[in-house]
């Protein structure tokens, strides 16, 4: 009889505890969704939230600056050493005309090498040489 009473008492106790937790949880939820705020101060908060954000922004800024520096270096490299490659057919054509080096092409030599080509072909070859940075 006494054991049974104890069991009932324990169950009731557990039920009360559960109810108390449920009420507390409901009150917390109500406070979060009801839209009432006890205090708002229109000054910027000093705290972890702000400093964390500042750290994050600083990290992003540093990464962006690194990327800009890298791109600038690449751009400088490209402008300092222009591409000197030409299509194989053009290189062969120039070689037949006696031009083997692209570093220094004389205007007369180039005209002589292209003498056998039509006007359109001569324009196309010269355009390719200009794109390669060999002709100014």
């Amino acid at each position: 009889m006494e054991i049974e009473a104890n069991n009932i008492f324990d169950k009731l106790n557990a039920a009360v505890t559960l109810l108390e937790r449920t009420v507390a949880s409901l009150e917390q939820r109500e406070a979060l969704t009801s839209g009432d705020v006890q205090r708002i101060v229109a000054a910027v908060e000093h705290g972890a939230e702000v400093s964390q954000r500042e750290v994050e922004l600083e990290r992003k800024l540093a990464a962006a600056e690194d990327q800009i520096a890298e791109l600038r270096a690449q751009a400088a490299k490209i402008s300092a050493s222009p591409r000197k490659t030409l299509p194989a057919a053009t290189t062969q054509l120039l070689a037949k005309g006696g031009i083997t080096s692209l570093e220094s092409i004389e205007a007369g030599a180039l005209d002589a090498a292209l003498a056998g080509l039509s006007l359109e072909q001569r324009i196309a070859v010269k355009a390719q040489l200009i794109r390669a940075g060999t002709l100014a």
């Binding site: 979060l32 009432d36 006890q38 205090r39 708002i40 229109a42 000054a43 000093h46 939230e49």
Partner: protein, 208 residues
Amino acid sequence: MRLEALAVALPEVAGHPNRVPFEGVLTLVDEASNRPPSGARGHRVILTRAAAIAALPSLLGMAVDYAPGWDGHDARRKCGIITQADVEGNRLEVSGYLFGKDFPEVEARLRDGEVDTMGMSYELADAHVADMNATVWSLTRATFTGAAILLREKAAYKGTSFRLGAKRCRTMGLAATARQERKPAERPGRILRHNHRQTEIGKEAQWR
């Protein structure tokens, strides 16, 4: 232009040693704060015009305070009082007195500091947010419990301002002077009975 005004009339005391008039823009209405205010859980806020006008009576008689670093509020350092509040356009303008004799260091700092660097910040209690899940909280009801003078860069609203008036004032400060420049027909009736605390609600239609 719409304007709502409310004032507390104080007895006129010529050359009062402890009254230094000030005026400022406390906040902007119907405009989102530039940064999240303290207590707004990281949300920027909009104080609606209706909420601001409804809360004007609670602002009168409230203190202005300051923090030693001019970076926030310190309710234990009350260095002045708000006697008048207007909503003009989107600006909630206030004026009142600084206790210059009690806080000479504050007066000196405000007079000698860089021009246009000081701002204001409100303190609200019992604010109601229309939608707590919104990115920017819209405050539809609130009670003003005070204000602070602080560096503008520390204020949640960049559009606030604060400045001292003449060395010593006689009555309702700078705003009172401004009111008297208006034609009598354009402004609400003046508060004439001295030694009686009165409030006056500006009639919106007359203040356009």
